[in-house]
């Protein structure tokens, strides 16, 4: 007999428009319908994932999942956690009120704005996704809500004398329509690509580094967020395991994950029906809490459930949502002045972390050398790496200009929408990577 079951059924449609060098390659809508049925047997989980779910089949799936649970030996328990569904914010500008033709035209405008002298290729992509999520569990928890996300990206490739560089911008929103005001991003992608033609390859080494809000947000996500995920803590695969209450950074450093914020990683309720709320991973420089599902809260403790997220039809995992460093009290100018000689890193080309080893790495889109507190020449292909346990102590100043950015985060083969953010921060000693030479 099962101890618990739940079913999470997600149906909806996704729209994709792809314009490559002025040609509308595709402007299409697709339909999807997936569900995951989880059953807790005498020890662990049995799960059935299905396409095209029909509720009348639930009994059969529960039986099949219960049989699969027979493979398990892990004694899984579920902690009690509050149930609540937040209202989904009304769309500020609902993309569904615009036709596919209108969206294609708006995207073409963004792509057009990225063209110009020196730019040899442009590509603009629009994505929109609407999901209806239905959940029911053996504990009598039931909910349903609709959520939409949309956004676009623009790539400009510039060439001069055999040197090829690119500028890339993207904007996404939950229940909004950023495409409507996208031409400025097209221009910015072009300007970045052109400016990078003159940039030098960064020279690697240890130095003082200022991170812009986007990259500092990725820093929070990679350096602290992943290592605070309850499943990794449970597996012994995080350097933050067993360190609640330990100091990891200076006073004034607070790092938060908050799925209840109406930013890109918003969830009105998590994927197992638990209320979403603010979790302070680091409070005033001290490791304060982990992110949990009901299962990892029961096995690990120290933190809050409400962080279960999953792609349609997939088993939910402990995931970040909106992860950010809280504002400090330094201005951007003070960060640069205090940096003195070093480097300012701007924008993100993605990052990665090995939480067990405690090492993270991420790449900036570009940077500027900082000389005597003033911006110098532009540099390209620059990365930053470090150790989770040491790096946060190197934060010398925290800015007062926090800003959130949108992205997708991958874990266990599942990509989920996340928001990352921070103010400008100054690291007094960081390892910068680059292929440049003296």
């Amino acid at each position: 007999m099962y101890r618990y079951y739940d079913v999470r059924h997600v149906a909806g449609e996704s729209t994709n428009v792809d314009i490559d060098n002025g040609v509308v390659e595709s402007a299409t809508t697709s339909l999807f319908d997936r569900a995951v049925v989880r059953v807790l047997g005498p020890s662990g989980w049995g799960v059935v994932s299905v396409d095209n779910y029909r509720e009348r089949e639930l009994e059969r799936f529960i039986g099949e999942a219960l049989a699969l649970a027979g493979l398990t030996g892990e004694a899984v328990e579920l902690a009690e956690a509050p149930h609540r569904v937040l209202p989904v914010p009304a769309p500020s500008d609902d993309p569904r009120q615009y036709g596919l033709e209108e969206k294609t035209r708006l995207l073409a405008d963004v792509e057009e704005a990225a063209k110009g002298s020196g730019v040899r290729n442009t590509r603009a992509v629009y994505t929109e996704r609407h999901e209806t999520i239905r959940f029911a569990s053996s504990e009598g928890v039931e909910y349903a809500y609709d959520l939409g996300r949309s956004g676009y990206s623009i790539l400009a490739v510039a060439e001069q004398n055999g040197v090829v560089q690119m500028g890339y911008e993207r904007r996404h929103a939950v229940n909004g329509f950023p495409l409507r005001t996208g031409t400025a991003c097209g221009q910015k992608a072009r300007e970045t690509a052109i400016a990078l033609l003159e940039a030098k390859a960064a020279k690697g080494g240890r130095m003082r580094v200022v991170l812009d809000p986007e990259l500092a947000g990725v820093f929070a996500h990679e350096a602290v967020g992943h290592a605070s995920e309850g499943d990794l803590i449970h597996e012994g695969n995080s350097v933050l395991a067993g360190r609640i209450g330990e100091r990891i950074g200076g006073p004034g450093l607070t790092i938060v994950d908050d799925p209840s914020l109406p930013e890109f990683g918003f969830d009105p309720v998590d994927a197992e029906g638990v209320a979403t709320q603010r979790t302070e991973l680091v409070r005033d420089g001290v490791i304060n809490a982990y992110m949990h599902t009901r299962e990892t809260l029961a096995s690990v403790g120290n933190g809050l459930a409400g962080h279960a997220r999953g792609m349609p039809g997939e088993v939910p995992l402990v995931r970040m949502s909106n992860t950010f460093i809280e504002n400090g009290d330094s201005s951007y100018d003070e960060c640069l002045a205090e940096c003195g000689t070093g480097i300012l890193l701007i924008g993100s080309r993605g990052g990665q972390v090995d939480p067990g080893r405690g090492m993270f790495q991420f790449n900036a889109e570009f940077g500027y050398l900082v000389e005597d507190g003033a911006l110098g020449g532009m540099v390209r292909d620059v990365s930053l790496s470090g150790e989770i346990l040491g790096t946060l102590h190197e934060i010398a100043l925290i800015g007062d200009d926090r800003h959130m950015h949108q992205g997708y985060c991958g874990k266990g083969g599942q990509a989920v929408a996340v928001g990352d953010g921070a103010p400008h921060i100054l690291l007094s000693n960081a390892v910068v990577g680059g292929s440049g030479h003296d």
């Binding site: 994709n16 490559d20 060098n21 040609v23 509308v24 390659e25 595709s26 299409t28 809508t29 697709s30 339909l31 999807f32 319908d33 662990g44 049995g46 799960v47 059935v48 994932s49 299905v50 396409d51 095209n52 099949e64 699969l68 493979l71 398990t72 030996g73 892990e74 004694a75 596919l100 033709e101 290729n121 090829v164 560089q165 690119m166 390859a201 690697g204 499943d231 012994g236 695969n237 350097v239 039809g313 080309r349 993605g350 990052g351 990665q352 090995d354 067990g356 405690g358 090492m359 790495q361 991420f362 390209r380 292909d381 620059v382 990365s383 790496s385 150790e387 390892v431 990577g433 292929s435």
Partner: protein, 427 residues
């Protein structure tokens, strides 16, 4: 009339041509959390992709709900109207293809006991290095069927089986990871477990690295990560003609060490992407990309080939049923000068962190090395604590000192370990 025929018939009254792609699959898997099985899982998937063509316009849509094929067709027709017209000379007609599947092993049945056995064997393999503990692992089996059909009477079907296992281990703060994947049950799960535990155990007490220039040995995994990020996209015809490949206009030029060759071999039995036909129903064939260091060609699907006056190379692939086919590869093989790459002192690069952040056009990358270690005389010697490596993927192709005789399948590639000279590392 079955669903495929019904869709093609309905489409033909409103479009000049149409194509249906239908995939169905079943899978079973289980996952370890530390030393215990935490989850057993089954999956059932269905996917329908429809493409319609008319006046050089193409529209596509997809669904996993077969009962909604009419809505899916309607969406594809709408997409067709919105697309810009491009040169198009038609879908392929049927030809006689061998009937025996290239990537199917009937012994792969979806038996829970087989999955449990894979996990147990990995665990016992890992026990060879007691100082390392397993943190997570998984094993899975799947069977799938794909059908491609179009309004020229083409209708092909193919069946595929798949088995895989992977495991992660940790010793102190040193982590190790290993995996294996095959179309058959010829995995060696015990070796997979042993390797993960070895790399975790070996990395304990890593020494700091003096910044400088080193010879490196890239494992097949590290090589795959760098090639996937930069070289492979640069060989895709669409990127080439769109100005997104550094290799554009360089066919016939030497771009690599003259002893290096790279080709796609779709007919290699049990190769990662082995198939007689591609995602558009075009018969597959061997495609030489780099031969003896000289750039030989790029990969094309029908759409890109028609547009740029090239011929399709049978390189259309689908990541799933969704969207439209794109240009990809079946089984990429890299060959080079075989040598004992582990003999002379070098830094071993087991895998790299951050390859996806490489500059896909210039090839410049800056990555963190996972499990870095000194090697000498064929053995792992002193582990290295941290190493950051900045370089360029295209330059690496000319810096090759040798490749190992043994290869392994990583993604859609069959790769050796590769030794390169003179690479900058920062500790």
């Amino acid at each position: 009339m079955d669903t495929i025929d019904a869709i093609l018939k309905a489409a033909l009254s409103r479009a000049a041509e149409a194509e249906v792609y239908l995939s169905t699959g079943e899978s079973i898997s289980a996952e370890l959390s530390r030393d215990r099985v935490r989850i057993g899982q089954a999956g059932y998937s269905t996917g329908l992709g429809i493409r319609v063509f008319g006046d050089g316009r193409v529209g596509a849509s997809s669904t996993n709900d077969l009962s909604r094929w009419e809505a899916c067709l309607e969406a594809a027709l709408t997409a067709m109207r919105l697309a810009d017209p491009q040169p198009w000379e038609g879908l392929p007609g049927p030809v006689a293809l061998p009937a025996d599947p290239l990537a199917f092993d009937s012994s792969v049945t979806l038996a829970p006991g087989t999955v449990a056995g894979l996990l147990e064997s990995m665990q016992s393999g890992a026990a060879a290095h007691a100082e390392a503990a397993v943190t997570a692992g998984s094993a899975g089996l799947s069977r799938s069927k794909v059908e491609v059909a179009n309004t020229h009477g083409l209708r092909y079907a193919d069946e595929e089986t798949h088995a895989s296992c992977s495991i992660e281990a940790i010793a102190g703060t040193s982590t190790g990871y290993e995996f294996a994947s095959s179309h058959g049950l010829d995995l060696d799960p015990s070796w997979v477990g042993e390797q993960a535990a070895f790399f975790a155990a070996h990395g304990v007490g890593g020494e700091p690295l003096t910044p400088g220039t080193y010879d490196l040995v890239l494992s097949p995994l590290a090589l795959a990560e760098l090639l996937e990020a930069v070289l492979i996209p640069a060989l895709v015809g669409r990127n080439v003609h769109a100005g997104r490949s550094r290799l554009a206009g360089r066919i016939g030029e030497r771009i690599a060490d003259e002893r290096l060759s790279l080709y796609d071999d779709p007919h290699r039995r049990m190769g990662p992407g082995a198939a007689w036909f591609d995602a558009e129903g075009v018969p597959t064939r061997r495609l030489d990309l780099i031969r003896n260091g000289v750039l030989e060609g790029f990969a094309y699907d029908l759409r890109t080939a028609y547009r740029y006056g090239a011929a399709t190379t049978g390189s259309a692939v689908r990541g799933g049923y969704g969207g439209a086919p794109s240009i990809g590869f079946h089984t990429i093989v890299l060959e080079g000068p075989v040598a004992d790459v582990m003999a002379e002192p070098a830094v071993y690069v087991r895998s790299v962190v951050g390859a996806h952040t490489a500059n896909t056009i210039t090839g410049d990358f800056s990555v963190e090395v996972s499990n870095p270690s000194m090697i000498e005389g064929g053995a792992f010697t002193t582990p290295v604590r941290t190493a950051m490596w900045g370089g360029n993927v295209f330059d690496l192709l000319s810096a090759i000192e040798g490749v190992s005789a043994e290869t392994r399948n990583i993604g859609e590639m069959v790769l050796p370990a590769l030794r390169v000279a003179g690479q900058p590392l920062v500790g």
